[in-house]
């Protein structure tokens, strides 16, 4: 009982968190290398060397930061990523937390991420970190809205807000075909929510690193780890909601999910390397004028199909 209810879920989430974040770092380097960026050493060792370096480095101070919030924010973001991973079903029975409302819980992770990212930027008491924080708050709501409409769309055919039921409902036809608008919308929002690549406005180069511009040493390692882990959690949600989760022939269910998550991650990381960063104003217009109406269309489509 304790094994199934407590120990196994914790192991599953921690393994997905640690290995997943490492795989994101490796995959990003492999993609960069494929695209012709100069690389030295092995892509498998480089993330470990970087981690070791950040552990060697001291955590710096700024002038009068909110120490508790500043140190806590990366850990909270990591905890949110872990919460997201906890609701991803690896098979019909292997789910860390098989809540009846797991889709809603993922929605709350997205909402709380806004609070934590703001906290990270605000508590440093530094200019660029603060601007990065405000940028995310200005955009976070639009990400959450689009994401929620899209996820309600996949809950309709399942007649449930439980990710396991959402996966089961795709036994005959995956949602990526049933609701063709859904996955592209969710992927774009995923880049925004994890502030990655073209939608990395909170930690961007024009803000010298944004909310992370003043962070060094172990807190930076935790922040980087948490960002990568959130990307993994997001890919798990996207694979479960649209790509049939663990469903697939020949291979064991968890392996199918891993392959689908890798495909989503590779797509997100590739987009991150190929597209320029959108200016915040463009991003707001894209979200509210283009993606949100498309999310409505997707929802109406899903509703009509469910009838």
């Amino acid at each position: 009982m304790i094994w199934r209810e407590l120990i196994l879920p914790v192991i599953v989430v921690l393994a997905a968190l640690g290995i997943g974040a490492y795989v994101v770092a490796v995959l990003d380097r492999l993609i960069a290398g494929t695209l012709g960026m100069p690389q030295t050493g092995s892509a498998w060792q480089a993330p470990l060397a970087r981690g070791a370096w950040l552990l060697t480095q001291t955590a710096n101070a700024t002038e009068a930061p909110d120490w508790r919030a500043w140190r806590l924010a990366p850990a909270l973001y990591l905890a949110l990523a872990a919460t997201g991973l906890a609701v991803v079903p690896w098979s019909e029975t292997l789910v860390a937390t098989d809540l009846a409302t797991s889709v809603v819980l993922w929605g709350s992770v997205e909402a709380l991420a806004t609070v934590v990212i703001f906290l990270h930027g605000w508590s440093a008491n530094a200019l660029f970190a603060l601007i990065g924080a405000y940028r995310y708050v200005a955009l976070g709501l639009s990400y959450i809205l689009v994401s929620m409409f899209v996820l309600i769309g996949v809950a309709l055919p399942a007649e449930s807000l439980q990710f396991t039921q959402v996966v089961v409902s795709q036994a005959e036809l995956w949602n990526v075909i049933r609701q063709p608008l859904g996955l592209p919308l969710l992927l774009i929002v995923g880049l925004g929510m994890t502030f990655w690549g073209p939608l990395n406005l909170a930690d961007s180069a024009d803000l010298a690193g944004g909310t992370a511009s003043e962070v060094s040493g172990p807190p930076r390692l935790v922040w980087d780890l948490a960002r990568a882990a959130m990307l993994v959690a997001f890919s798990g949600v996207a694979a479960s909601a649209f790509l049939g989760g663990w469903l697939g022939p020949w291979l064991p269910g968890p392996l199918w999910l891993v392959l689908k998550m890798l495909a989503v991650l590779a797509m997100l990381l590739l987009l991150g390397r190929l597209l320029p960063r959108l200016p915040p104003e463009r991003c707001v217009i894209l979200m509210w004028v283009v993606l949100l109406p498309l999310a409505f269309v997707d929802l109406v489509w899903a509703g009509a199909a469910a009838l």
């Binding site: 601007i131 024009d206 040493g217 200016p279």
Partner: protein
Amino acid sequence: MHGEAVLRQLALAPGIERVDSPRHASVLLVAGGIPPYLHEELRRVHDQLPQPCATLWFRSEPLLGLESATRIDELDDLPRALIVLHRELMSGRRGSSPRLLPDQPPNPWEGLGDFGQGGEGMMGGTPYGRPMAMNMHDDIRDGLTLDSLTFRLGPFFPALPPGMKAEITLQGDLIQTWSTQLVPYPVSLDAVFLDALQRPVPIAELELARAREHLHRLFHGLRLAGLERLGRQALQLANTLTLDSRVDGLRRRLVRCGFFRLSLSGRGRLTEEQARKIGGFAARATGLDDDLRSEDAHYRRLGFTPVTQAAGDTRARWQQTLAEIEQSLVLAKQAVGQDLHTSETGSVETPHGPWTDRRPEDASRLLGDLLPGLEWGEALATIASLDLAAVSEWPLEAWAAAPRVASHEARRA
């Protein structure tokens, strides 16, 4: 003065990661001499590096207190030296660079009350000599008035031209005011532009150098836009530029990824007066056809007419940049066929504008009129799309100049 050349060399070196904040760095590289009036600012940047950290001085004199730091004079040795320093720091074989400034607030405490707010309630005051974010200005965008925040940035902020410092007031991330306090360092041009003032020079060599300068600026703009891969391609193209080089591929990739559509139409638009003051390609992107090459008989023989754009905004300037690179390559190829040299001396159209009796001057003070109303990212993209620094009276030294293979080939042809 040659720091940009060093930066470009490192951008193509594997194993070197250029970071945007000193908090993310392990080694501080100082490339070229730093004027004494900026030593205090450099000390501040140095002390922002988290320990353990090291400094590397390339053709530069270490600051007082850092006499034992590593110095280096050979550009080719630079990437290796940086990697070695990082490894030594990581393995503990090298101690950290000492702190140069006392760890205390840069200004004395001037606040009143428990939180230093200095005024009644929670408002007012200048704790530590800096004004608090206050609702002082009317919003210039949509009427949603936010607290204004005034700060100084530079002279070593990577997204600004080297040496430039500005006092900026932001409301949200919208620029309310911009006041340039220190102008950027003058930039050195390829020696062929200075030679052209004295004697006829091969048009092919001049045009290849011009295309290279434009590609260097494009590299910086692409990196700022988050397109590091395309930026590197622009840089590689600049380093291997020959008469047969083509920019079609680069242009296609820039269009495909949406680079030209990043900035909204009309953002960073120059007035005619501002365009004339800045001169060069920025003026031509505003619709002015001022170009000293039009007055050169041999350029006219090549059928040269200035390329222009009408809009005068950031997008138009990048389009102009690409168009001028293409035009330079065509001119260079034609000129080699006819073995043409410039026919005029005493004046030359540089990539930074016309050089007649006076060098192209600094235009960074114009930013005070140009940037208010723009978002922060748009403002930086606007600055990257302009050549604001004055031109130095000294040419680029041989070690910093781009490979001249192409030019030699041009002469041989």
